[in-house]
Symmetry: C2
Subunit: 322 residues, 2 copies
């Protein structure tokens, strides 16, 4: 029987892990905040598309208890990547494959440097999801996962697709991993970025305020251009179709209601923002490939300052009196 | 003897009015917040360059008490422009000239529509100044005023220059009024805009954070391009020298310490922001003249949302619970 360990049990890890567990896959979760609640009451997923409850969930607090599963799904926040190695290492046996179900460019390469390239995959979830109380995940919409093996091995991709489809998860094998990463950034840069830069707002305002929406669209077009320059540089046959990306991303976002991006929620809760993995990497790739990206750069500057504010590193006028 | 009325007694109006009053010009101030304090204790200016105290100040609460002076200095916030007519009208006699010492493009045209074009001037203060307690102005640095008659009449400009020089104010007669307006916007758009978009910060952070500084510089270069397109459209012989503007504005801003822009102070105090006069007009002129201005447009979108937040018109995630 296939065994899976989920390392990083936030909304995304819990949701996809629960889908697999519901289907009978042997899933073990590494948990912190939700450990007791999940041990006692299992995992619940609430969803307008139909919720479910996994009553008996195998959850551990220490990575040495993960064993050596067939698959490790690493769904840590990208800001925790520096701690990923120590969390993953105990679970990575000789035949363990690792799926980086995380935001940001370059995470697979970091993981590959520790554990070897052949076993590493990236996965990009296009899903609207938030955490509720411990043991509860609010699934709001969507759920498709794009996957790509780090070496773009078709056999390996088929293997991961097969696993995820066990959980009734919609899977798309990307033309290549890098393409899938850029496709995800096309949404994350404008919508995560603006949701924070505008002060902690949902997608509805960005979609309905003409100036914000046009800023989002400009940022998205810049990401397409940066991504295509990057894909061309690695010799990718696939490239992003600007018109199609913009049309589909805005159409899908229009159906999300007032979705709260993960970065906006982190911002409101004073948590670390995934600013480097999403905005910093994109801005740096623009510079590297000499692609003009003024909107992306401005969003990076402003969201980075928002993150510095969280850490008290920005001298705010309000803190010193007017 | 020359008579002056100051309508709009914020930091700028009080400062320049006090300089004229100190020199013996007959200045009458229309005041609200500071009225009692100024009647009792006069106006004090504190400044590292040398403060002073005008002990007896002529201050009134009602515009009908302003008489018909030779000059009306209108130093209202641009957001109060819709109320300017009723405040100015009682003071505008047959020979009264009006100086719009305000931010924003197009304010002179609005005033001219009410009172005629021949009598209207614009004045742009390049000054670091904040209000203190009632009756007190903190002058921090600079003070030069660029002036321009609405019809660019040299004799009229000389007349206004003569008045201001009575108060020992450094005066520059701009090549034309429109040029002076754009020159001021070259500073106001990036520094007022970013000081709010970054969450209410002073100029020091914008100067020292590489990403913010580069965003400020890009915005400034965009304003130069928009301004030059606009100046070309009106047949102006003068145009902005991009390199010289950027060099001098950044050099001067570097000497300001951690200056708090008027817009950042308004933001922190929850007051109405001069977003349309400074950012909106600039963004709209970019569109009109087909000048790409992604940084200016993004700042406009974000500062406009900041102003909407002030009025409770933005559904914030933090207000509805996470």
């Amino acid at each position: 029987m296939t065994t899976v360990a989920v390392v990083g049990s936030g909304a995304v890890g819990c949701y996809y892990g629960a889908l697999l567990a519901r289907a009978g896959v042997d899933v073990r979760f590494l948990m912190r905040r939700d450990l007791e609640a999940v041990r006692n009451n299992g995992l619940r997923v609430e969803s307008p598309l139909g919720g479910f409850h996994v009553e008996r969930v195998d959850a551990v607090a220490d990575p040495t208890e993960l064993g050596h599963p067939d698959w490790v799904i690493c769904s840590l926040k990208s800001t925790a990547l520096e701690h990923a190695r120590e969390l993953l290492a105990p679970a990575v046996g000789p035949n363990t494959r690792i799926v980086a179900l995380m935001n940001g460019l370059g995470v697979e390469e970091r993981i590959a440097a520790w554990f070897g390239r052949e076993r590493v995959f990236g996965a990009m979830a296009f899903v609207c999801i938030n955490r509720g109380e411990p043991g509860l995940v609010h699934h709001l919409d969507y759920g498709r996962v794009s996957i790509g093996h780090l070496l773009d091995d078709p056999g390996e991709n088929a293997r991961l697709a097969e696993l995820l489809r066990l959980g009734d998860i919609e899977v798309v094998v990307a033309p290549n991993l890098r393409y899938a990463r850029w496709e995800k950034l096309c949404w994350n840069v404008p919508f995560n970025g603006l949701s924070v830069a505008a002060g902690g707002v949902g997608t509805k305002l960005i979609m309905e305020d003409a100036a914000l929406r046009s800023t989002a669209e400009r940022a998205m077009r810049e990401v397409v251009a940066i991504g295509n320059a990057d894909l061309a540089a690695i010799g990718s046959a696939a490239h992003l179709d600007e018109a199609a990306v913009v049309e589909s991303m805005f159409r899908l976002t229009g159906t999300m209601g007032d979705y709260r991006t993960s970065m906006a929620i982190d911002y409101v809760l004073g948590r670390e923002l995934e600013v480097e993995a999403i905005l910093g990497e994109t801005s740096r790739h623009a510079a590297r490939h000499h692609v003009p990206a003024p909107t992306v750069d401005a969003l990076y500057a402003l969201v980075r300052v928002a993150d510095l504010r969280r850490r008290g590193l920005v001298p705010l006028i309000e803190d010193s009196g007017v």
